[in-house]
């Protein structure tokens, strides 16, 4: 009632409707939202600079070079982040591991988004049997925890791919496997979002108009409806990068992810708990980098959601 009374008198009323805030608090809140997203962007740029710029100073062969004589050494001038169980330099490995982790995060999301959009769009646009079948599969996939699926799929594809040489560097074939399976096990939420968008958008006048003049279905789906549902897709994909990086970390931590010598932030943690009391630097550095990355992406995604989707009010 307070709201209705006021809403008639001042124009931009949305802020007034919920939740009750003083002016100072509201400004602070918006400012904070923006700064958090900005903070996320800045940290992400720094992390990318670290992972890709750092490669200018330390070579990959140095990162993969084992020297058992200096294994499990604490941080020092020579090895600022210490050395791991076989004497590799952890600083160099976090740099090259970061490249792989970020690469996996970004490319897995491409697969996830592609799948999610295709399945969601077809289910939402065609409806009926297509919709039921696709949604039953989606439901089935959602029913099994992603990590269990990842483990099973990692086993399924393990050893299938040879090492890959790209731009003069050798990558473990498992990188491709991990990217693929993360993408294949994470598209379900996005598919549901896209489906819901399509269900509501396909009844809109502009779609009916396009159909009336005989626009081909493919064109309607991809050129008329899809651009209108881009906002939730962008938000979901951004948050998906964070999820993919976490997934890689989990599966590699369990020893089923990217195989050494290729480093990722996740597989650097594999086995670290055996040295919990003697060598904390084994997990502190890569772990912190993972948290920082995921946190920044979450901030960014949150900011994007606020900016792109004014309907959602996440307090």
């Amino acid at each position: 009632m307070v709201e209705t009374t006021l809403s008639a008198s001042i124009h931009p009323v949305d802020e007034l409707l919920t939740p009750p805030l003083s002016l100072r608090q509201l400004v602070w809140r918006r400012f904070r939202r923006h700064t958090m997203a900005l903070f996320g962007v800045v940290v992400l740029i720094l992390l990318f600079t670290y992972a890709f710029g750092g490669a200018l100073f330390l070579t990959e062969s140095y990162a993969n070079q084992t020297e058992t004589g200096v294994r499990l050494q604490g941080p020092s001038a020579v090895h600022p982040f210490g050395t791991d169980t076989v004497g590799r330099d952890i600083l160099a490995r976090t740099i090259y591991g970061g490249q792989i982790s970020l690469l996996i995060g970004l490319t897995a999301v491409l697969i996830e988004t592609g799948f999610g959009i295709l399945i969601g769009a077809f289910a939402g646009y065609y409806g009926g049997v297509v919709d039921s079948v696709l949604m039953r599969i989606t439901e089935a996939m959602l029913n099994i925890p992603q990590l269990f699926l990842l483990i099973v799929m990692a086993k399924f594809f393990s050893g299938k791919l040879p090492n890959i040489t790209l731009l003069g560097r050798t990558f473990s074939g498992s990188v491709v496997v991990i990217i693929g399976i993360i993408g294949l096990t994470s598209w379900m939420y996005l598919a549901r979002i896209v489906r819901a968008e399509f269900l509501s958008l396909k009844e809109n006048e502009f779609v009916l108009a396009a159909r009336a003049i005989g626009t081909p279905r493919r064109e309607i789906i991809f050129q008329h409806i899809l651009p209108n549902s881009i906002a939730p897709i962008v938000v979901s994909a951004t948050l998906g990068v964070a999820n993919a990086i976490l997934s890689e970390a989990y599966i590699s931590f369990l020893g089923l992810g990217v195989q050494p010598p290729t480093a990722t932030w996740g597989n650097m943690l594999d086995g670290a708990y055996n040295y919990i009391d003697t060598a904390p630097w084994l997990w502190v550095f890569p772990g912190t980098l993972i948290v920082l990355t995921v946190l920044s992406i979450n901030f960014l995604g949150d900011g994007l959601r606020d900016a792109l989707d004014p309907r959602s009010r996440v307090a």
Binding site: T5, S9, I10, L16, S22, L23, Q25
Partner: protein
């Protein structure tokens, strides 16, 4: 009749991102025992906020009561602590609201929502409270009261829910009922029934009623006295007959001209008030109605007229005499 409630110089503001909204700007009025006072004005004129402020029901922040007092039986309601106010609300002063669809808690039974007042304020035990609640439902015109206690709000129609709201508000026989546009959201036929019900209950309980509305048509049938509000100010105060027969503030004149009346010729055109109520974000300078007023004079733009008596029981806040159009 003695004075039951005396509100003096009440000012309520809201802090918003766009600036401070001056919702209520120093209003004073009294309510006598057993009297029905109508508060009239367009949406957004501060009539609801002024009543919610008295009961401490505006959200703070962003709301803020900047000044004023509200004396009720020797207490200043605006100075009471929250626990003290809780003993007043629902027991001494009750409210019913505009939206019967959303004003009842959807996940609690009607019985629970009526009896909790009885048990909180009157200390009734479960059984007594239930019997009393059933009686209350019957008395507001809901048959099978005892049966319906177990029902949930969604099982009632809008009009029925408003009856339930009235039963809740009147459960403890309060001395004041504040009705905040209780008929606005209802069908016309139901509106009349609800008005009738409130009149009937008023006589039964002997309470005073503050009836907030933007509908002058309803006012004629129910009120003893009328306060007209505009932009957070009281612009006219009069007993109901004088107001209809002889409106003295240009805003009241305009409101009445916008009202269909049986005593006018059929082809008489209703007159709408041009423009919109002022932006309450701007601290008012001059008379807030000046921009829409047919009688505006130079002085209106610089000075805001205070509410001043012009006859016994009659006050207006205006520089001019609407009869002659000349300054008073």
């Amino acid at each position: 009749m003695g004075t039951l409630l005396e509100v003096t110089d009440l000012r309520t503001r809201f802090s918003t991102p766009e600036g401070v909204v001056h919702a209520v700007n120093g209003i004073s009025y009294t309510l006598a025992e057993g009297e029905t006072l109508a508060v009239v004005g367009e949406s957004g004129c501060g009539k609801s906020v002024s009543m919610l402020s008295v009961l401490g029901l505006i959200p703070i922040p962003p709301g803020q009561i900047a000044s004023g007092s509200a004396r009720y039986r020797g207490m200043d309601l605006l100075k009471l602590s929250e626990p003290e106010l809780e003993t007043i609300r629902g027991r001494e002063i009750s409210m019913i609201f505009q939206e019967p669809m959303t004003s009842l808690n959807p996940v609690l039974t009607i019985g629970r929502q009526i009896t909790e007042s009885l048990r909180t304020h009157l200390g009734m035990d479960h059984g007594t409270a239930n019997r009393r609640a059933a009686e209350l439902l019957e008395s507001v015109g809901i048959p099978d009261g005892g049966q319906r206690l177990r029902d949930y709000p969604h099982q009632f129609s809008g009009g029925m829910r408003q009856r339930v709201m009235i039963a809740i508000a009147l459960a403890c026989a309060p001395s004041i009922l504040i009705a905040d546009e209780p008929t606005t959201a209802l069908d016309v036929t139901i509106q009349a029934q609800i008005v009738e019900l409130v009149i009937q209950m008023r006589q039964q309980i002997g309470m005073a009623v503050i009836w907030i509305t933007h509908d002058l048509g309803v006012v004629a049938g129910i009120a003893d006295r009328v306060i007209v509000m505009y932009a957070g100010f009281i612009v006219e105060e009069a007993d109901v007959e004088s107001l209809y027969a002889d409106p003295r503030h240009p805003y009241t004149v305009a409101l009445l001209a916008a009202l269909p009346r049986a005593d006018r010729r059929r082809d008489h055109r209703l007159k709408s008030i041009p423009g919109a109520p002022p932006n309450l974000l701007v601290k008012p300078q001059g008379c807030p109605f000046a921009r829409r007023c047919d009688f505006v004079i130079e002085r209106c733009w610089s000075d805001n007229p205070a509410l001043a008596p012009i006859a016994p029981g009659r006050k207006i806040a205006c520089w001019i005499d609407v009869k002659t159009g000349a300054p008073r």
